[in-house]
């Protein structure tokens, strides 16, 4: 077992996971549900849609796709750095 290269790898990996989950929580449960009323009233509208409503029906889904793209890119880079990547 090569624990020396495993530990930093796992630490970075968890850091990526937790930051992305924070974004995930913020856009869906945060903007879409918990602070929706505040956003509807105070944030600039997206086109003609109230911001909170738009986040719940469109913005959150678009962000989810971006989260996964970022995750795949960062993780595949990290794998390459630690020599874990395999040919596709």
């Amino acid at each position: 077992m090569n624990n020396d290269s495993q530990k930093p790898y796992q630490r970075t990996c968890l850091k990526i996971v937790f930051s992305l989950l924070a974004i995930w929580f913020f856009v869906s449960f945060g903007c879409g549900i918990l602070f929706r009323d505040w956003l509807d009233a105070n944030a600039p509208p997206i086109g003609n849609a109230p911001a909170g409503f738009w986040m719940a029906q469109q913005g959150s889904i678009i962000t989810f796709v971006c989260i996964l793209v970022v995750y795949a890119a960062l993780m595949n880079l990290l794998d390459a750095k630690h020599g874990y990547s395999e040919e596709d």
Binding site: L20, Q58, D88
Partner: protein, 606 residues
Amino acid sequence: MTQDTLNFIFIGLSFVLYIGIAIKSRAGSTKEYYTAGGGVSPFANGMATAADWMSAATFISMAGTVALSGYDASRFLMGWTGGFVLLTILMVPYLRKFGKATVPDFIGDRYYSKVARGVAVVCAIFICMTYIMGQMRGVGVVFSQLFGIGIPAGVLIGAAIVFFYAGLGGMKGITYTQVAQYSVMAFAYTIPAIFIAIALTGNFIPQLGLVGEYTAGHSPVPFLEKLNNINIELGFQEYTSGKMSKINMFCITAALMCGTAGLPHVIVRFFTVKNVGAVRKSACWTLLFIAVIYLTAPAIGAFSRVNLIEKLHETPYAETPTWFRDFESTGQMAWVDKNGDGKIQYFGPARSAAGTSSVFQGKAPAYPAYDAPEKQRVGVNGERLLANKADETNPNELWFGNDIMVMANPHMAGLPMWVIALLMAGCIAAALSTAAGLLLVLSTSISHDLMKKIVKPGLSDKEEMTYARFASFVALVVAAYFGINPPSAFIAKTVAFAFGLAASSFFPTLLIGIFSKRMNKEGAIAGMLCGITFTIGYIIYFQFLGGIKEHYFLGITPEGIGFVGMLINFSVAFAVSKFTPAPPQEVQDMVENIHIPSGAGEASNH
């Protein structure tokens, strides 16, 4: 050429395509049968997973739900897409690294226990069975409308087709079929939306039309503002603000997300790609393909609501469009002329003192027998009369089923016949692809997890395949039976059940299994059992034993209780594992090992 002929041609062509693909790529070994030999490209797997994930119910009724409840329907939009973030970031790369073919396999090995494996098999079978029943019903309904045959015959045709390519072709067969099915679904869903967006908002991108202006009237007004005004004027809640409580909205969204991440038929899809890097790419494609449909649904919902009201409200029956009469004759729309003015009125709860908006008494429309005197069947305006008594506490006269919005949309917008035929083909593709994916998980759970791992360990590869095909046949017969004789309201209600079950059982157990080395079999089994029992108990009490709304725990409906069940699972699992011995060293090493993405054993040498 009539609409029926065109429907036949489109659906017939799509079937030729699916079956051709299935024959070309049928499975030869158990590895190909279960996971397509692990060599599917991330792009193709993404499309196939998207098709697998979007069921007939999603395809047909999600936009209808959005149209009816506006903002409140966001829980489905976010729940069913956000779950993929959890699935991708927390689960599938690790499960793929573990490298077994099924979810009970992982639970059985990680918790070094046949009991855990058995519990997992039962959960998997139950979740998949609930789902597949609904799919078979959906196929039956579409076929019966298409060919003018009864629903039972429609279900049987659907079952035969699914068995042909899922039962025989295995994962390899269905993966490539699902790629074709996704393409059909995506076109069928977006093309009508584009036409309608142009007609209503002058913008050919539906999502931009939704936030744009309504241009079909005298002068352009913001589209959502118009929709809000119509809704309030007719006595419904404002479209962009919901009436559901925040905590309930939160719990349901969370239960749907965690449930998504724990659904066995979605997880196994990611075992078909080559390695962990490919799993991550594949998940991106999957969510992207799903987002195409989920981002269009809110637009379709909003457009069809405006269309429906503009076309029908205050319209004399004699001047209603032909599609209204068609849906009336199939029993999906109904009109009761309460005030006797010969015009259709559509009103919400706020327009009556009693706060109701039901058109008639009873849940679904009932009709007089065919041989009843004509006076009982046809009203003075020529409308189809109901056997139900009118509900006179409110002025609403228009009833329609939740599921017709997507199907009626192209009719309402006066789109060409081929668009409607394409939509029919898309709907069948949605039902078939999901049914096939579920059938596969069911048959592997039985042949692999139950027969090979628990009952008869010495099974050869060939015998296992025979069991798998036999199991898929039996599962399909059971599913077809329930598709023909649905346990009444049971199926619609068990959708929440299946998600709650997955959220309160698989999701926490898999998650702790991946991220905690200390979790032992006692904790996992106790957690799974407590989570499931609580969730099932709550759902059964409030759905079937007549529990009343006022007694809901914190006002959470049974739809969202899976989230609470999940929290219970987590707490019980950690508490029990604290007081019981740690898992054996080799299991702890295994957990350590699944966090290294590259091939087992070689990792440290690079």
